[in-house]
């Protein structure tokens, strides 16, 4: 359940702000690990929007998820520059190391295109990964 005083605080913090929906959703996602239907309804009410409008926004952006996933996340860049530096050859090993314990997420570009393959865990970035380094990263996540 993601409604309650904490959600009220988030909504109050953004009251009166122009185009407040995305900043609110970021805060909700950070606080609860998801933006679920209950939160959508509360946010809609606070911003005088329909639930459909809020749901449309939540479902549009990759960063918002409808249910929480407490597993650690490792983001692996698989865009062209990292492909050129051989990321695809590492993916199978990373998936094997992750199993069902770690969530592997493909992202398109972390902006480290000259030193790939690269990955992100939380706000920590990792570059020049080879198979051993990526597997160690996934195991340690």
């Amino acid at each position: 359940m993601t409604t309650g005083p904490r959600l009220d605080e988030i909504l109050a913090a953004h009251a009166g702000r122009d185009g407040a929906l995305l900043p609110i959703l970021h805060d909700v996602q950070a606080a609860f690990g998801c933006v679920d239907a209950g939160a959508e309804a509360e946010v809609a009410k606070a911003l005088n929007l329909s639930r459909a409008e809020v749901h449309g926004v939540v479902s549009f952006y990759h960063d918002f998820t409808p249910s929480p996933d407490p597993r650690p996340e490792v983001q692996i860049c698989r865009a062209e520059a990292c492909q050129a530096r051989g990321v695809e050859a590492l993916v199978l090993a990373a998936e094997a190391a992750a199993g069902s314990r770690v969530r592997l997420k493909t992202v398109y570009c972390l902006g480290l295109c000259s030193v790939g393959p690269s990955a992100r865990v939380g706000d920590t970035l990792h570059a020049r990964l080879d198979e051993a380094a990526l597997v160690a990263l996934v195991r340690g996540a």
Binding site: D18, G19, A20, L21, L22, P23, L25, H26, L47, G56, V57, F60, Y61, H62, D63, F64, A79, E80, A81, C82, Q83, A84, R85, V107, Y108, C109, L110, G111, L112, C113, S114, V115, G116, S118, R120, D123, T124, L125, H126, A127, R128
Partner: protein, 507 residues
Amino acid sequence: MTVVRISDDALALACGADAVAEAFAKAGCTVERVSSWGMHWLEPLVEVDGLGFGPATPVDVAAILAGSSAKAIGPIADHPFIARQQRLTFARAGRTRPLSLDDYAATGGWAGLDRARRMPAADVVAEIMGSGLRGRGGAGFPAGIKWRTVAEAPGARKYVVCNADEGDSGTFADRMLMEGDPFALLEGMAICAHAVGASRGYIYVRSEYPHAIAKLNAAIGLAAARLAPFVVEVRVGAGAYVCGEETSLLNSIEGKRGEVRAKPPLPALEGLFGCPTVVNNVLTLAAVPHILHEGGASLYDSLGVARSKGTMPIQIAGNVKRGGLFETAFGITLGELVNDIAGGTASGRPVKAVQVGGPLGAYLHPDQFGLPFDYETYAAADALVGHGGIVVFDDSADMGAMARFAFQFCAAESCGKCTPCRIGAVRGAELIDAIRSGSPRGPDAVERAPQMHNAPKAGRTRAEQLGLLEDLCDTMQSASLCALGGFTPYPVRSALKHWPEDFGDGL
């Protein structure tokens, strides 16, 4: 006490700069965290008295301090990679602490803004027009014309929006600038605000750049008094590539789905919250303070070739020996960039293809290495300068797979508003699979239905499949609402044109 300078750019951090900095601090040195020089293969790069050492690890600390390190590269500023550049937008790269107002002011910071604010707004617009500055986001639209349109548009409320949604693979100049010289971007925005009569600005940064977001927020806090009455706010994206398209970006700031808007109306007339809005890329706005220096506009106009004026921060990435940021006047050839400056591939194998301009840019063949970097020349060759990123591939690359990836990426990132992009991308990926599988494809269940009068009832040959792909590319290119669907055919067609052998042999 020895002063050691190490970058705190996200790329340096990813390569282990913090551990190196800590080791130097433990050894009794004063560590200054500066912006990155942009020589990424040397990161973490350590600077002691102007001399460089890299890529450094904590193990190298003693040898570096003793002057006996094998990782010495000599004076950094004289390194060929730096000495060959002409840095205007990135003049401070490697030289200043990103969040030091003193460093910024000591290196010519705020001079452009002070001069601009002493001038009538129309004269500022005229200087930008005279500099020949064009939008660095990819479209290359003259910045001066955009500014004039907003300045002359009726409306009490106007906005300056900085597009920092740098989603293209192979590009990192926006990130480096935001992390390394955030005040320059804020100064450029403040000059723009003065020129067009805006009082509020937004910087829309992608959520994949947490370090840039933190630096910008800190910089805004430090420089608020200097920028006043202009107010800037950072808005964070939410993982949608298409939000780099300006109208979709505006929708996103407004709190809507990041769907593309049909143009007209132009954002310059009806942009953010329906008000006249300048939307410029980070590099465009960061070039502005230099142009507003005394004589800056004419210097800028004197650089470059034909209608591509000034300098372009080119980002060298992918499979290269020496990757990084290379700012130079327009006109440099692709061959020079890839062979001389980048030193060829990191793998040591021959270069097969170079993608210029991000995921929507064409793949160029080594036969085209004579092409000078210039918007019009690239357009004439069915290619894209885009945001200035170049990604090098060696001969192990499968260009058929890269063409398929272009469609797959477009399908994943399409906003869904227009049909050519939303459906074309999916069909394109299927079509490339069918072509690469080699066997002629028979009619599927839908095509066999009696009401599908025009669908072929016999199998399609390879030539027919390729014709269909051409047709699809035409449709996407001319009927998509924005560049995502409209430019996806560039990588596909160029891959098919130069490397048909990677698309199966049609047996």
